[in-house]
């Protein structure tokens, strides 16, 4: 139909939610394209669930508008919004069978019984639970309940699918499985989906775009790649993936002084105190290196090994640089000999991998 991401199937304009003096969500703006899978990612209390509930209609914004397909739904009652919501606790009706649970949304729409039966059958088949149609929720495992909840939300063919931390109650293995399944179903149906999570792995692996939130505000919106490689600030950088942080200050000539050593970083940052951040696995170590010989396009910093942690897949070196400590991760090589604590180390990393942010004002 020619709808692009810019057209915004789901639009949030200045959406704010205040409880007394407390601002749970501050003036949130977002455009979600049709068929997009967007994640709200952030620590607990950041406002992501509140925002989801406002989209669903379970909470009313204090200010701002919510539009779906151009239509203002801000004050539209919940039951008229045509959205499917999968709750964190699944919220299956305990007194109904799986089949009746899934059929509920179709029954409220007063569809003919035959059609209901057909669609329920298809929905259950899609999540591979057709054989459990006659069971009650309490007889199902957590993973099965979650799939029923998904089927129940999808069978009504909603305009938007909303998921509130759908995988957090599952064990790790099941979570991996379900991640792939949900993504697959979502793409097959082409349904616009918003989901809320505090797990960055989920967000990174499943979504088209991520909205990183903190304290009710949006910190950054972008693709997984952008969020990871070009974080907008220290919070996003450290929330998604592991990262090191060094204190530094701008020197006059566009470089940064870090613990008495000189490195290069992004030139757009103004003068003053900065945080320099580098990912642990982007750093190469040269044991007993002096830093005098290093390639162009890399930063070199000298430090001393404090301790080593062997974690199976990777080995972690904790290197002291002045008063800061950097973590360097390398895949294990099978060689048993590791350097002794106290060994001098020269750390190398590409200048493009250097993230520089002005020191944060206290929020």
């Amino acid at each position: 139909m020619g709808q692009t991401t810019e057209d915004g199937f789901l639009q949030l304009e200045g959406v704010t939610k205040r409880y007394g003096d407390f601002e749970a969500v501050r003036s949130l703006n977002l455009l979600v394209g049709k068929g997009e899978l967007v994640a709200f990612l952030g620590p607990s209390g950041c406002g992501k669930t509140t925002t989801l509930r406002m989209i669903a209609g379970l909470a009313t914004p204090t200010a701002g508008r919510i539009l779906v397909g151009g239509r203002d739904v801000t004050v539209l009652p919940v039951h008229q919004r045509d959205m499917g919501l999968v709750f964190q606790s699944y919220a299956l009706f305990p007194h109904m069978t799986v089949e009746r649970n899934v059929a509920f949304g179709l029954e409220t729409r007063k569809l003919p019984r035959d059609e209901i039966r057909q669609r329920v059958g298809r929905a259950l088949a899609m999540v591979r639970l057709g054989h459990l149609a006659g069971r009650r929720p309490r007889e199902l495992s957590g993973g099965q309940q979650q799939r029923v909840a998904l089927a129940r939300a999808l069978v009504i063919e909603p305009s938007i699918l909303l998921l509130d931390e759908p995988l957090s109650n599952l064990d790790a293995k099941l979570r991996d499985e379900m991640r792939g399944q949900i993504r697959q179903i979502q793409q097959e149906l082409g349904i616009t989906t918003v989901f809320v999570t505090h797990d960055q792995v989920e967000a990174l692996s499943m979504c088209d775009r991520i909205v990183v939130m903190r304290g009710g505000r949006v910190e950054q919106v972008g693709s997984p790649f952008e969020i990871y490689e070009r974080p907008a600030n220290q919070f996003v950088a450290s929330f998604v993936g592991r990262i090191n942080r060094l204190s530094g200050s701008r020197t006059g000539d566009g470089a940064i002084a870090v613990r008495g050593q000189r490195i290069l970083g992004s030139p757009e940052i103004a003068a003053g105190e900065v945080d320099v951040m580098v990912r642990p696995h982007r750093i190469r170590i040269e044991w007993n290196g002096t830093g005098r010989v290093h390639q162009d396009g890399t930063n070199a910093v000298l430090g001393r090994l404090v301790r080593t942690t062997f974690v199976g897949d990777v080995v972690q070196f904790h290197i002291a640089v002045g008063e800061d400590e950097l973590l360097v991760e390398q895949p294990t090589t099978g060689r048993p000999d590791l350097p002794e604590p106290g060994t001098p180390a020269c750390l190398n990393w590409r200048i493009e991998d250097t993230l520089v942010f002005p020191k944060e004002q206290a929020r």
């Binding site: 039951h79 606790s89 129940r152």
Partner: protein, 264 residues
């Protein structure tokens, strides 16, 4: 957890105390089979004469019928009134909900002798003495707090998410109430039904103030009977009352599990 076995003297003491606790209720059974004219234990003879007497005792039977009818009406009304009230207090949570809840459960705090007198005085001038309507109203005063309490607990223990889910699936507030909230309240409703019926059926003091020769309930008739003469007839009625209560309790336990409904 290590189970500490109580000492033998302790167990004997507890057994004796339990006997003391259950003595009157237990004793009523053998007495009901007494063949004597007057109350004595152990009876000099055994027979079913007092049960037969009961079947022909018009006053008692009429009172029993009144108690039954009253119990059913009061229970039905209690539910019809308390369910919406519980919903308003727990789900709608308007300002002053807690105050209202305390106000509506306050009748439980007042001694029935005081309540009975208070209601007597007001009903006398309203011409409601010795009427079915008056009895229903008076019984409602004591059953509603129980019903409200149980139903409010049942509602507040319920996962709100299910109702929200039903709403997102297109259920209007009334549909959600009818198809999700009410069914999920079933244990509480069953418990409230049983309790309201039993409370109404056993209610004696307030009812004493409001009954007369025209209309009477079984506990009141029993009371007058014992006041005038104590004979084994009361025992046979008592046995039937105990069995009736047991039946109600068993039904509740079978359908919803007793402890779950009373523990918050």
């Amino acid at each position: 957890m290590e189970e500490s076995r109580a000492s033998l003297p302790m167990r004997i003491l507890v057994a004796v105390l339990f006997l003391f606790l259950l003595a009157p209720v237990l004793l009523v059974f053998p007495v009901s089979f007494s063949g004597d004219e007057v109350l004595s234990f152990p009876p000099d003879s055994w027979s079913l004469r007092w049960y037969e007497n009961l079947l022909g005792h018009d006053r008692m039977l009429a009172a029993f019928g009144t108690s039954l009818l009253l119990g059913v009406v009061v229970t039905a009304l209690s539910l019809a009134i308390a369910i919406p009230a519980a919903y308003a207090i727990v789900r709608l949570r308007v300002r002053g909900s807690e105050f209202l809840f305390n106000l509506f459960t306050a009748p439980l705090l007042l001694p029935t002798i005081v309540l009975g007198l208070a209601i007597l005085i007001v009903f006398a001038s309203a011409g409601l003495l010795a009427t079915m309507q008056g009895l229903v109203a008076a019984h409602l005063v004591v059953t509603l707090p129980y019903a409200l309490r149980i139903l409010a607990v049942s509602l507040s223990n319920m996962d709100l998410a299910c109702e929200e889910a039903a709403a997102t699936l297109g259920g209007t507030p009334f549909t959600v109430f009818r198809r999700v909230t009410l069914p999920m309240m079933r244990p509480g409703i069953v418990a409230a039904t049983a309790l309201c019926f039993l409370v109404s059926f056993d209610e004696v003091v307030i009812t004493l103030f409001l009954t007369g020769p025209r209309i009477s309930t079984l506990p009141v008739e029993l009371f007058h009977h014992v006041e005038n003469r104590a004979d084994p007839l009361v025992a046979s009625v008592s046995v039937l009352l105990i069995l009736l209560t047991l039946a109600v309790v068993l039904i509740v336990d079978r359908s919803v599990g007793l402890s779950r409904t009373f523990v918050k």
